[in-house]
């Protein structure tokens, strides 16, 4: 009885994908483009996000190739500047910010709380169209020559000194921002108003808590970056002078506005990923998440503190020493809830019954890499060491550990975990475990040397660099090729599994969430009967009882 897997699939000779499900109910391109079903919109997002991810990834590949040698030999410095700018813009605004919320969040929030759809289904579709409009504008910008301001659009460089497509890129980000705001709004309303009977706040899966916290950030922070972009546009077109020191403006003001969004944006990106990790670790250790309330409130704490740390991006920019003191202290405080989460996940394993399917491997990868990413954040939050480490490859390594090592691992973990629910079919387990390993190894090879490069002082956004930095850059580029393989593999086998994967059945992981108590792929209205939540979240004993009853009913009906 004690095998090392929890996967329980239906008998493959008799099992069929349910005839009526959200994919099969309607056909044709228009049925997708005009859908208001949250699950179909999630699929639209998944396809478009992956597309943008691979464009951003290709740009990253170009960056790493250029940095293989100290000289600029693959491309001119201007081209290099455009490449890293577009890499940043696409990855941040068109992949990381919407990644988990728009795909998994969209698909799962209504199902997890026992609702038929999001509160505002048409607004949800509008979000996707806004996202696509922004994304296509960004691609158009790339096609007509790109932009070279860096994804941070720092003034006065972006307002007075570059002649590239700042306005169209700004517009792309502006439009995509509304997609984010509407998604956040939709989630908040849904979580407040659409919960099934018995689904109290403290019975919500932690995935929901994390999305709720992230949604608050989306709604409150995104308008500020919209304002900052509008001001840049006005400065460029009519020269209003808000950021222009010769007109009495303050060039630093832009950075305050920009980071007032872009720092919380980091938590918009990571919080939903943390939600995924909570679900995955609980399921594969058959245990309720250790300290449920602590994890739930730490998400909220991160969201609240996340608003008050933006100036830690500006410690060396001549803001007052006392402002630095306050922001450094607040930065230390925001690090604590993340530490709490890591330890709670670790102790969820304690006395569990652990198996190591792919989502769990990715989750372990997340925990290790996010711990490194988080700790190195403290190096930068401490004002003294920030002086030396900021604006170098140390920062590049730090945020890639958090965003790629953390967020992307969580995204892949979640995609594998809910793949059977989304498609009704299993992915190939061995191959995907290999992909998880390759990703982990490639990631460390790529980004760990960058911590050393940064400590040595290598500045970020350099197309050429002194020759003594070459060896570490060679390592990094070599690692990036491994990482590339790690990301291509899932695309191949996940597409393969759409046709050839094993039939998953309702609940292959024997997970407790409401989304697993219905057919896979689900009906358009999610549940045949409106679910009633009569147990706590992650109640594995309830699940066992449930399965027991089901077996008995089957036995009696057969007999």
């Amino acid at each position: 009885m004690s095998t090392n897997t929890i996967v329980s699939l239906p008998d493959q000779t008799t099992a069929r994908i349910p005839k009526d499900n959200y994919i099969s109910r309607e056909n044709g391109l228009l049925s997708w483009l005009l859908t208001s079903d949250h699950k179909r919109i999630a699929i639209l997002y998944l396809i478009s996000l992956s597309f943008f991810f691979f464009i951003g990834g290709a740009l990253a590949g170009l960056i790493r190739l250029e940095l293989l040698t100290p000289q600029t030999d693959l491309m001119a410095t201007d081209t290099y500047n455009k490449v890293f700018t577009m890499h940043g813009v696409i990855m941040v605004f068109f992949f990381l910010v919407p990644s988990v919320p728009a795909t998994l969040g969209n698909f799962l929030i209504p199902m997890m709380i026992g609702a038929k759809d999001l509160a505002l289904p048409k607004v949800n579709l509008l979000s996707w169209y806004l996202y696509m409009a922004g994304g296509l504008l960004a691609l158009y910008t790339m096609a007509v020559g790109g932009v070279d301001t860096g994804w941070t659009f720092t003034t006065p460089l972006s307002t007075h000194y570059v002649n590239t497509n700042v306005l169209t890129t700004g517009l792309a980000v502006f439009v995509a921002g509304f997609s984010s705001i509407l998604t956040g709004l939709n989630f908040i309303v849904t979580i407040h108003k659409m919960r099934a009977p018995g689904m109290t706040w403290f019975r919500l899966p932690l995935f929901i808590w994390a999305h709720y916290a992230a949604s608050i950030l989306m709604v409150l922070a995104t308008p500020v970056v919209a304002i900052a972009i509008v001001l840049v546009a006005l400065e460029r077109t009519i020269g209003i002078g808000v950021f222009d020191p010769t007109k009495g403006g303050d060039p630093l003001l832009f950075q305050h506005l920009f980071w007032f969004y872009s720092h919380p944006a980091v938590y918009i990106m990571i919080l939903p990923g943390m939600g995924v990790i909570s679900e995955v670790i609980s399921t594969f250790s058959r245990k309720r998440v250790f300290g449920y309330t602590a994890v739930a409130f730490s998400s909220v704490a991160i969201a609240v503190f996340g608003f008050f740390v933006w100036a830690h991006h500006m410690f060396i920019m001549g803001i007052s020493n006392y402002a630095v003191l306050i922001f450094s202290l607040l930065t230390m405080l925001v690090a604590v809830p993340s530490a709490i989460k890591i330890f709670n996940w670790t102790f969820t394993l304690y006395k569990g019954s652990i198996t190591f399917e792919t989502p769990m491997l990715y989750a372990f990868g997340f925990m290790g890499l996010f711990t490194i990413g988080g700790m190195t954040g403290v190096f930068l939050g401490s004002s003294g060491t920030d002086i030396h480490l900021t604006e170098t490859y140390f920062i590049v390594a730090h945020f890639h550990f958090v965003m790629v090592g953390g967020m992307l691992m969580a995204f892949l973990s979640g995609i594998h975990f809910w793949w059977p629910k989304i498609t009704g079919r299993m992915y190939p387990e061995k191959l995907s475990q290999l992909a998880a390993m390759v990703t982990f190894i490639g990631f460390n090879f790529t980004f760990f040397p960058q911590f050393i490069l940064g400590t040595l002082g290598m500045p970020r956004r350099y197309a050429s660099y002194p020759p003594e930095f070459q060896i570490l850059n060679v390592f990094s580029t070599a690692g990036a090729t491994i990482l590339g393989v790690g990301y291509l593999l899932p695309v191949l086998y996940l597409v393969w599994s759409l046709r050839y994967g094993a039939i998953a059945g309702n609940n292959p992981w024997q997970a407790t969430g409401l989304e697993w108590q219905t057919q896979s792929p689900p009906l358009t209205e999610n549940f045949a009967v409106m679910p009633v939540m009569d147990h706590e979240a992650y109640d594995y004993e309830w699940l066992e009882g449930q399965q027991q009853t089901q077996k008995e009913t089957e036995a009696t009906s057969a007999g």
């Binding site: 095998t3 090392n4 897997t5 929890i6 070279d148 941070t152 006065p156 460089l157 007075h160 009495g248 060039p251 630093l252 250790s285 058959r286 245990k287 309720r288 300290g291 309330t293 602590a294 410690f315 060396i316 920019m317 020493n321 630095v324 450094s328 230390m332 690090a335 604590v336 530490a339 709490i340 330890f343 670790t346 304690y350 006395k351 569990g352 019954s353 652990i354 925990m367 711990t371 490194i372 700790m375 190195t376 403290v378 939050g381 401490s382 004002s383 003294g384 060491t385 920030d386 002086i387 030396h388 170098t392 400590t455 002082g457 500045p459 970020r460 050429s464 003594e468 060896i471 004993e541």
Partner: protein, 357 residues
């Protein structure tokens, strides 16, 4: 090995001889910052080891084969408190330690010598008080506190010296300062670390630390003939500043003798300290803070003086300690007093020319 693969041989040799893992410590603050850095590395390693050890040992002890049925554990207030308080305590130590270093880096000692740095796309211009100019290089003596006053004439730049663990943003329209005391003679990297456009990665240079004796020799051999203050004096004359700031009883502008560092009463009430930033503002945007007793009649010199020119003027004003000196300036020029009404723009190019390196 050389016979097997020259490429690998080359790679290994390069590796062994030209491969750094840690930057040199060439300033007084560097070892202090590194102590904190290594403390944080240590804490991170311990933290990571704890997490990894726990995950690995739980994975071994409680994998499904060995431990087929999970035991539900709700949580533990004691454990929660432990991993809230210990990280918080450690982070607070790092905060205090970091803040102490931060304040040290940005609080120059009173006896520091001052060097001006002007950043522009894509070069660093260095203005020594003795009138020495450098491009993409900075010569400093070892064993002496050196303060840098930085400004940018276009976009944000950042003046970074990794070997000193010191970095400061050069901001358009605003002076920022940082100081260091170099300890080891040698040549070190200077980088611009704030992305500033096309040739950002070429905005690099050398920091040359000389022994005090070599530094004196370098100063003597690199002089341009006039000190920064003398350049400022020439500019002061050619812009007809002395037409108003002439310290006569009927002068339309305040006397500038001993004005540097003084607390000035403003016409709007309140006081302001006449530091570099105030002097710069008073030249480029004179009506912003007018001294008490004077009308806001001074024209702006925005766009007519380069950043180096402003620096030279400030350096001149810093060294002005008597009204007599101003009148000397007045007398040494052949400008008639009537020229005060002239638009200074007419002299724009001439005024710029006086401070070109």
């Amino acid at each position: 090995m050389n016979h097997i693969s020259p490429v690998i041989w080359q790679f290994l040799v390069k590796w062994l001889t030209n491969f750094a893992l840690f930057p040199p410590e060439a300033s007084k603050i560097a070892p202090q910052m590194d102590a904190l850095y290594f403390f944080m590395v240590l804490v991170s390693l311990i933290g990571l080891t704890v997490v990894v050890l726990l995950v690995v040992s739980f994975s071994i002890l409680y994998n499904k084969k060995r431990h087929p049925v999970a035991v539900q554990v709700e949580g533990s207030t004691l454990l929660e408190a432990t991993w809230t308080i210990i990280p918080l305590g450690l982070f607070l130590v790092m905060f205090v330690w970091g803040a102490l270093i931060y304040f040290r880096v940005f609080t120059p000692p009173a006896n520091a010598m001052n060097i001006y740095i002007v950043g522009k796309q894509w070069m660093w211009k260095t203005e020594h008080p003795g009138g020495q100019h450098e491009i993409n290089a900075l010569h400093v003596p070892s064993g002496r506190a050196v303060q840098l006053t930085l400004i940018s004439q276009d976009v944000f730049h950042s003046f970074s010296i990794p070997a000193f663990r010191v970095k400061r943003e050069a901001i358009p329209g605003r002076y920022t300062t940082v100081w260091f005391e170099a300890t080891t003679p040698g040549t070190f990297h200077l980088f611009c670390t704030q992305y500033c456009g096309t040739n950002h990665s070429q905005m690099i240079g050398d920091i040359v630390v000389l022994t005090p004796e070599d530094y004196r020799k370098w100063l003597a051999s690199s002089t341009s003939g006039a000190s920064l203050a003398q350049n400022g004096e020439r500019l002061f004359a050619s812009l007809s500043c002395a037409a108003c700031h002439n310290a006569r009883p009927d002068a339309r502008g305040p006397s500038l003798a001993n004005v540097y560092g003084a607390k000035l009463a403003l016409s709007t009430g309140g006081t302001i300290t006449a530091d570099d930033a105030y002097l710069r503002e008073s030249i480029l945007n004179p009506s912003q803070h007018v001294t008490q007793g004077y009308a806001p009649i001074m024209p702006t010199y925005q766009g007519q003086i380069s950043e180096e020119g402003v620096i030279a003027l400030i350096e001149y004003i810093k060294n002005l300690n008597s009204d007599y000196r101003i009148q000397q300036t007045l007398n040494t020029t052949d400008l008639p007093p009537e020229s005060e009404g002239k638009v200074p723009a007419a002299k724009g190019p001439a005024s710029q020319g006086t401070v070109k390196p």
